[in-house]
């Protein structure tokens, strides 16, 4: 084992810190996916592209001379309406259909989004400079960009706010009721159509926050949406629907995995490793489930 990471233990600290901070961000996206999956029973392949779009909103603000950190407030507001419009245009027609239909339809949306972003913002890799500087730890051997810490803090704050909102508010209760049993909720006077639209809007808003954070911590490119979708999908299947602590933990786990894969396999295999991990998790899950399989319930 002559990998650099095992020779220099400080790199391990670096990778772990990076991974955990990144993982919190992934968990935020995954929470949105879990929300819409649990409530509407659709899998949104365009999730990652909503994230990137949110990032580009923050980037546009940066170009206009506003500090991109304000994107974490502006971007979710715009994205909420994007999500709402998307629901009214397409998603409401696939909600109670086969899951495969929703996968394909959102795949189509993802392609449209990618291409439109490519037209509007260009095919260059961009990043919004936050100017937050870096923190040096352990005699300058571990560097930690302050923007990453900022993004983790903001993610946690928004997640807590959302949990409280879902518990306390009227809409939150309606969403939870619809997730439990849409028909019963309908009978009891919940306007499920509105709940669905709001859920999709909230999901898009979460993506917007995550995107704005990504625009200052990582990089933006029109075609990198799909890995974010896959990451959030992975986190959700590992953590289960509606289990926020587990989402946070598995998000951090994924972040750690990615940072270590980056050091061990090399950066060119990073995305490949993420997708292979997805396949591995699904196959592992399949063998675990098949052990306690029951026939013809």
């Amino acid at each position: 084992m002559d990998f650099l990471i095992f020779k220099a233990p400080m790199l391990m600290v670096q990778a772990s810190l990076d991974g955990i901070l990144l993982g919190i961000l992934f968990a935020l996206i995954a929470y949105g996916m879990a929300l819409q999956w649990g409530v509407m029973n659709i899998i949104n392949i365009a999730q990652g592209d909503l994230v990137i779009l949110g990032g580009y909103i923050a980037y546009t603000m940066y170009l206009a001379g506003i500090h991109p950190a304000w994107g974490v407030i502006v971007s979710p507001i715009i994205m909420f309406f994007v999500g709402w419009a998307l629901y009214k245009l397409v998603i409401n027609k696939v909600v109670d259909r086969d899951l495969f239909i929703s996968i394909l339809a959102t795949f189509g949306i993802a392609i449209v989004f990618q291409q439109l972003m490519n037209f509007i913002f260009g095919a260059d890799v961009v990043v919004a400079q936050s100017g937050y500087g870096t923190t040096m730890l352990f005699d300058n051997s571990v560097t930690l960009p302050n923007s990453k810490i900022f993004s983790a803090v903001i993610s946690v704050l928004y997640a807590i706010a959302l949990v409280i909102y879902m518990k306390k508010s009227r809409l939150g209760r309606a969403i939870r009721a619809t997730a439990q049993n849409a028909r019963a909720a309908k009978i009891l006077g919940v306007d499920t159509e509105k709940v669905y639209a709001a859920t999709f809007g909230i999901n898009a808003a979460l993506c917007g926050i995550a995107g704005a954070l990504i625009s200052i911590t990582l990089t933006l490119h029109p075609y990198v949406g799909l890995p974010y979708t896959v990451r959030s999908f992975m986190i959700v299947i590992v953590a289960g629907l509606g289990n926020l602590p587990a989402v946070a933990v598995s998000g951090m786990g994924l972040g750690l995995f990615e940072e270590f894969a980056d050091y061990i396999l090399g950066t060119e295999f990073r995305i490949g490793a993420v997708f292979m991990l997805l396949v591995f998790i699904l196959v592992y899950r399949r063998f675990k489930l098949s052990k306690k399989r029951e026939y013809l319930k």
Binding site: F100, G108, Q115, F119, I237, I271, V279, F287, Y295
Partner: protein, 354 residues
């Protein structure tokens, strides 16, 4: 019965004659016709497992890309060192003679058909145990992972791509290259059609349909579903590999994510074409692929730059408003033509319901 067979015979011989004459009739469109043949093969074999078996895979592009890389690697590796070929300019140092080129592509296509089939069989047990959308996402991941990994392997050109051997320069006829690839793809198309047609008349198809309709019940009836699922997937993989090998030779350049494991184009196209024509029918994917190809080629040039937007919108429209496809729509309209008998009572009841 005899009359029907005669009609079929006329239809098939007509189509084969048309297929054989096409490169001479429309000699400017040979490349497009080759594309069409490959697209039909892909749609037809995707339909075998997506439409008939109900396992909607986004990852058949894996076998397509694998076949493409294998054909090119074998074709080069049989005569020259592969690593030096894929370094920049390698294709200029080494030149295939005519005999070497055809030997190479023959063996290459053979390998490209067999290896993906074996791969499908090997990973089938693990992957096909997943149900529904988990299967779809898993295969999507597989296809993209393959592209990302192929883009990092030095010996097959990594990120800078792999130039497949150019058509031998000793053959001076400028038409020869196009005709060679067209007839190759047409041959594969005919083989695929005969194979799929044979399956449509066999017990195997009924088993696949049983798996699609209710896998647990099929298993309870004593069908070893896993075995048949794997065989179904292997059939798809076989033809995907062949199609990929031909396309690699035709395009002349392999890029890991834009040509070989091109999930954004080919990988979606095959699903879309099968759905457009109608999943689970023999002719549906063929009609769907033809329509799609004409539509694509006709429209792409007018909306240059916007083609992906159009593609995305097309996917959404087809999937949301037209999920049964053309054949499904026809079937609903003219059930008698498809051999479905509807009682007058039933029809009346339906009218009353409406």
């Amino acid at each position: 019965m005899n009359k029907v067979k005669q009609k079929d015979l006329i239809l098939y011989s007509g189509l084969i004659i048309l297929g054989l004459a096409a490169p001479f009739l429309f000699s400017a469109f040979k490349v497009q016709l080759t594309y069409l043949c490959v697209l039909i093969v892909l749609a037809m074999t995707w339909n075998l497992q997506g439409g008939e078996m109900g396992y909607n895979s986004f990852g058949n592009i894996l076998f397509y890309g694998l076949g493409m890389y294998l054909t090119a690697s074998v074709q080069v590796g049989m005569f020259f060192p592969l690593a030096e070929w894929t370094e920049s300019g390698g294709e200029k140092t080494f030149v295939h003679t005519t005999a070497q080129y055809f030997q190479g592509i023959g063996v290459g296509l053979l390998v490209a058909a067999i290896v993906p089939t074996i791969v499908a069989g090997a990973i089938g047990y693990a992957i096909l145990g997943l149900r529904g959308h988990y299967f779809a996402i898993c295969t999507l991941g597989l296809g993209i992972a393959a592209g990302e990994i192929a883009g990092g392997i030095e010996i097959i050109g990594a990120g800078q791509g792999f130039t497949t051997p150019p058509f031998p320069a000793e053959i001076v006829d400028p038409e020869a290259r196009g005709q060679f690839f067209y007839f190759l793809s047409f041959l594969v198309l005919v083989l695929a059609f005969i194979f799929v047609k044979y399956i449509y008349g066999s017990r195997f198809r009924l088993i696949l349909n049983a798996i699609r309709d209710n896998e647990d019940k099929a298993e309870a009836m004593g069908i070893q579903t896993m075995k048949y699922k794997i065989v179904g997937w292997m059939c798809s993989a076989f033809f995907c590999g062949l199609a990929g090998g031909i396309m690699g030779g035709l395009i002349g350049y392999i890029d890991s994510t834009d040509v070989a494991f091109d999930g954004r184009e080919m990988g979606v196209f095959m699903v879309l074409m099968a759905i457009l024509g109608g999943k689970g029918t023999l002719w549906g994917p063929i009609i769907g692929a033809t329509l799609f190809h004409f539509f694509k080629e006709g429209l792409w040039t007018f909306i240059l730059g916007w083609q992906y937007v159009a593609l995305g919108v097309l996917i959404v429209v087809i999937v949301v408003y037209f999920p049964e496809g053309l054949m499904g729509w026809l079937r609903e309209k003219y059930p008698e033509r498809f051999g479905e008998v509807i009682d007058d009572k039933d029809r009346k009841a339906q009218v009353e319901l409406k």
